[in-house]
């Protein structure tokens, strides 16, 4: 038994067969990884006839961009794209700022209770969001109904405040990234600046932030993507007041139905929801992120690699 295994191993090690086997497995898995996206593209291009036709699996017979066109209209792309862009950017700026600040505090200062607060940062990651969302809602409706209050629910203010105070989406991960990158900046630079009379805030702004532009970009990108894709809190606090792309996609089926009834009554049989329309909508919704990823994939992977999330 053991000798057989040994033989197989020797055969696999460094040999051509082993290499081919590894490639085969990786390509198979990649295919499975990309399967939903490939399927999405294929289905989005199909006409209604192709969907019904069992002999058409991958390559549509009647190519059409009609699905995409209708999806763009249904999603109200121009509005939702700008909405999502500025909403996610706003939250990402807040989150980047607080992550840099907190990471700097952990990396550079010795204060009593530091370990405790570090554990709390990790704990804030583990605590499930549903368990804190109700009191948060009570806080903001409370502010809204106070005599001095202003409109809160339905505006980005609640999420902005939560994010600005370090309780945004996956904030703990971003703080860890910032902490680990800040630790890599030599302390002697701080000390030199301190001797020249700089205070801690000046050191933070003029040295740490200056030197960690690439880190800040990484944190911003992650924060942007996570805020873009977050739907639970956004649904609770924004209630659809700002048109956002993923939220719109969530309501795609319903929107589609009403669009068909209201829009062209003459062509209403065309407006029956099917996989082609759904996948066209999904494709349009993820396309902005895909394009962005094409340009900055290196930052994303580097960011996670050097994050030190694994605690070394």
């Amino acid at each position: 038994m053991k000798t057989v295994r040994e033989k197989i191993r020797r055969l696999c090690r460094g040999s051509v067969i082993g290499q081919i086997a590894v490639y085969a497995v990786l390509i198979l898995i990649s295919y499975q990884f990309l399967y939903p996206i490939l399927r999405m593209i294929s289905l989005a291009m199909m006409s209604e006839k192709d969907i019904m036709n069992p002999s058409v699996t991958w390559i549509p017979k009647g190519w059409t961009f009609n699905n995409i066109r209708i999806a763009v209209q249904t999603l109200d792309l121009k509005k939702t794209l700008t909405g999502s862009l500025w909403f996610s950017s706003l939250l990402a700026v807040c989150q980047t700022f607080v992550s840099a600040l907190t990471g700097f505090a952990f990396a550079r200062f010795e204060f009593p209770g530091k370990r405790f607060w570090f554990v709390m940062v990790l704990l804030s990651f583990i605590i499930p969001t549903p368990v804190v969302v109700i009191p948060r809602l009570i806080i903001f409706t409370g502010i809204q109904e106070a005599p001095w209050g202003a409109q809160m629910i339905g505006t980005p203010i609640p999420q902005m405040l939560m994010t600005l105070f370090g309780q945004g989406v996956y904030s703990a991960v971003l703080i860890l990234i910032s902490y680990n990158f800040t630790r890599m900046i030599p302390r002697s630079l701080d000390e030199a600046a301190a001797i020249d009379g700089a205070n801690s805030f000046q050191i933070f702004v003029h040295i740490i932030l200056r030197l960690s532009v690439s880190t800040i970009l990484v944190i911003f990108l992650f924060s942007f993507v996570w805020n873009w894709n977050e739907s639970y809190l956004t649904f609770t606090f924004l209630r659809g007041r700002i048109p956002l792309l993923p939220q719109r996609l969530g309501m795609f089926d319903n929107l589609f139905a009403s669009y068909g009834q209201g829009g062209g009554s003459a062509q209403s049989p065309e407006f029956r929801i099917n996989e082609a329309y759904k996948m066209a909508g999904t494709l349009v919704a993820i396309l902005p992120l895909l394009v962005m990823y094409l340009f900055v994939q290196r930052q994303f992977i580097k960011g996670i690699e050097n994050a030190g999330i694994t605690g070394e």
């Binding site: 399967y35 607060w117 809602l137 873009w228």
Partner: protein, 303 residues
């Protein structure tokens, strides 16, 4: 001024400035996480009514819990299906990402291309996107039922076959959760000191032995981190019924916040229990990867 008191003053200034920079996070943590966490537990024992004057609390004892656990016919099935999902997905994701990381952690062509592909889902994964994809059946591995191996398993043990079918029904989605874990594992693998592996090879250890005796023990803490990360991700991203039930209960005037709190609290307990089990299974008390590596280095060097 003596040197000692000077040092003390510097220490105090360090502490004050440190807290100053921590202030936003600590404030936010208290207001938006710690206090709400406790408040949810408190609220779950009350009947909460919204009136013009604000919220009216009437103590309800365990009524909300009884309602959630026994009288509501939807909550328990939703919770159980969530638990089944975590139980099948979490180990699969951890093990799969480890295997993929092992395959990718060798000199080969197209390595960066594979890494970029495997990381891609992290960017596009969101609740609405996932539910649309699952809805359209674009994530399933089809034709599994016809596979010979599957029929054998089904004859041998129907529950196992059922679990497998469940897993493969949305297999691409399962894979999509491995994006960040793969990168973390590769990162960990690259930090393993080559000399230990070399020493073991000289002692005629096979690569199978090296995997189990060196690689996995060193990466154990990373396994823990990834298990926790995956559990959290699954609990938030999944298109599970429990989350939407909590949402609905929030807006429902009958049950209201009290019932919603009970739901949320039961759900969170389930998630935290999962994380706790992962922690107990995978923890290595007070040993960081570096320390484990040092221990193993000593062990192999002593031979």
């Amino acid at each position: 001024m003596s040197g000692k008191s000077n040092g003390k003053a510097i220490g105090r200034r360090q502490a004050v400035t440190g807290y100053l920079f921590m202030l936003p996070w600590i404030t936010g943590f208290l207001i938006f996480t710690a206090i709400p966490f406790a408040a949810t537990i408190y609220l779950s024992f009350f009947e909460v009514r919204q009136s013009i004057l604000g919220y009216e609390l009437n103590f309800a004892g365990t009524a909300n819990y009884l309602l959630a656990l026994f009288r509501n016919i939807e909550f328990m099935p939703a919770l159980i299906s969530f638990l089944v999902m975590e139980l099948t997905y979490m180990p699969t994701i951890v093990i799969l990402s480890f295997i993929l990381a092992l395959l990718l952690n060798r000199p080969m062509k197209l390595r960066s291309v594979f890494r970029i592909l495997f990381f891609l889902p992290v960017i596009v994964m969101s609740g609405p996107v996932m539910s649309q994809i699952m809805d359209s059946g674009a994530a399933a591995v089809t034709g599994l039922e016809n596979l010979f191996v599957f029929t054998v398993i089904e004859n041998y043990s129907p529950p196992l076959a059922e679990a497998l079918a469940y897993l493969f029904e949305n297999f691409s989605m399962v894979l999509w959760f491995t994006g960040i874990p793969i990168i973390l594992f590769i990162n960990g693998l690259q930090k393993i000191n080559g000399s230990i592996v070399e020493a073991a090879t000289i002692d005629s250890a096979t690569s199978w032995q090296i995997l189990w005796k060196i690689t996995i023990p060193i990466l154990r803490p990373i396994f823990l981190v990834i298990a926790i990360f995956t559990a959290v991700q699954l609990s938030l991203y999944s298109t599970n019924r429990v989350l939407s039930m909590i949402q609905e209960a929030i807006y429902d005037t009958v049950g209201g916040f009290g019932l919603a709190s009970a739901y949320a609290w039961i759900y969170s307990l389930a998630v935290l229990a999962f994380i706790g089990v992962a922690f107990l299974l995978l923890r290595e008390p007070k040993e960081t990867p570096v320390k484990i590596q040092k221990r193993l280095e000593r062990k192999w060097a002593g031979r």
